[in-house]
Amino acid sequence: MNIEYMLKYLPLYEKAAVLTVTIGAEGILIAAAVGLLCAVVQYNRVPVLRQIAAVYIELSRNTPLLIQLFFIYYGLPKIGISTNPSVCGAVGLGFLGGSYMAEAIRSGLESIEPIQSESALSLGLKPYQVMRYIILPQAVSISMPAFMANIIFLLKETSVFSAISLMDLMFTAKDLIGLYYKTTESLFLLVIFYLIILLPVSLLGRLVERRLRYAGFGS
């Protein structure tokens, strides 16, 4: 392996990594918000919205991110909504991740016994207060392991961003391979950078999971 080559192009990778993480984080935030909304709507059986959420979840889960990105990137301008690649990336990731986050939070919500709500209602809390102060905090901590797994999944999915000419890690590696044919070095750097991004998240996930399993609330 050519170390000199790798050092030379390190800054390019660094820039790409920042882009990957930034858009990844934005997408994950959108996904979390969309997921929370869908899960709450479904848990509370809100009419109409609940059906919309169900359709969205199926659509989002059963189509590849690449196709979703193409729809947003090439489709939206056709109906007069102008976009740029980074917004498309974040929105696309959010669209994909929203359904996964929704399922994670929903299973957390459903694992809480209805009598917890009743106990809160009996204290005079209004239904939205029961949701906010009693049900959601518990559900979210229960969903944490699934939530963390989704974050890792979504960060890995960012590798298709290159298809809408976002200069993320994948794009950079492919670009360099095309230019200089240094396949081994380029891929090696690519792997290293993905690991640098994903390993800490993964470790954090383990930590969260262990804390929940062995300690629970109040440790």
């Binding site: 009598i115 917890q116 009743e118 106990s119 809160a120 209602l121 009996s122 204290l123 005079g124 809390l125 209004k126 207060q129 102060y133 009693i134 905090p137 518990q138 901590s141 629970g216 609330f217 109040g218």
Partner: protein, 252 residues
């Protein structure tokens, strides 16, 4: 006679085809302690749940100080503040410390001042011997401690009537006493309470009136001294017999 606080008139409640409460009427006066006993599945919990507006009912009315308690109605949260409920399984909120469990509703529902509520919560906890547990979490407490904390949580809302649904049924025998003692003191203070229990000795000591329910109907009611000594109905007598044991071996 003290004022009528809670009025239940011709209450009917069924789950699908299963009729659980049949045309039940009951009036509870201010300061009265009513103990409800009856075999498993006779509808005791359902009755309490209806009083708290947790269940839709098929007929009749329940009124607290003249205001109707109706499942799904808008002023239900308002009325529920006046009704404290304690569950068999405690139902403390596991993600909140004991003090936060107690102060949540006074703060968020009654919008009272934090210092004032915390002070009251701590003094109530002190009275049930739990002052040092205020900052702990429910899972760090024993069953009896949890149940006492749950009683304090209900008390801190200043309810006009308190409902207890077999609150010692899940406890080890030595913890039963500490919870019952707290309830006895509440009765002494003149609180209005409706208590579902299988603790007959306790019922005898705490009740102003005993209601015996079977199959969703009030079969018999009376003063505890009379009811426990000489129940008027066969069904009540048979039920009370369950709690009696006679020696099975010949004794010399």
């Amino acid at each position: 006679m003290a004022e009528k606080l809670l009025m239940i008139e011709h209450l009917n409640k069924s789950y699908d085809d299963l009729c659980v409460i049949k045309d039940m009427s009951l009036t509870v006066h201010k300061g009265e302690v009513v103990v409800v006993i009856g075999p498993s599945g006779c509808g005791k919990s359902t009755l309490l749940r209806c009083i708290n507006g947790l269940e839709p009912v098929q007929g009749g009315r329940i009124c607290l100080s003249g205001r109707e308690i109706k499942h799904g109605s808008r002023d239900l949260p308002m009325l529920r503040q006046k009704i404290g409920m304690v569950f068999q399984s405690y139902e403390l909120f596991p993600h909140l410390s004991i003090i936060d469990n107690i102060t949540l509703a006074p703060l968020k529902v009654q919008k009272r001042k934090k210092e004032e509520v915390e002070e009251e919560a701590l003094s109530l906890l002190d009275r049930v011997g739990l002052k040092d547990k205020a900052r702990q979490y429910p899972r760090q407490l024993s069953g009896g401690q949890k149940q006492r904390a749950a009683i304090v949580r209900a008390l801190c809302m200043h309810p006009e009537v308190m409902l207890f649904d077999e609150v010692t049924a899940a406890l080890d025998p030595e913890m039963v006493r500490e919870v019952l003692d707290v309830m006895l003191r509440l009765a002494q203070q003149g609180r209005t309470m409706i208590i579902v229990t299988h603790e007959m000795q306790f019922a005898k000591a705490v009740a102003d009136r005993v209601i015996f329910v079977d199959n969703g109907e009030i079969i018999e009611e009376g003063k505890p001294a009379e009811f426990f000594k000489a129940p008027k109905t066969k069904r009540a007598a048979r039920f009370l017999n369950i709690f009696e044991f006679s020696p099975v071996k010949a004794q010399n």
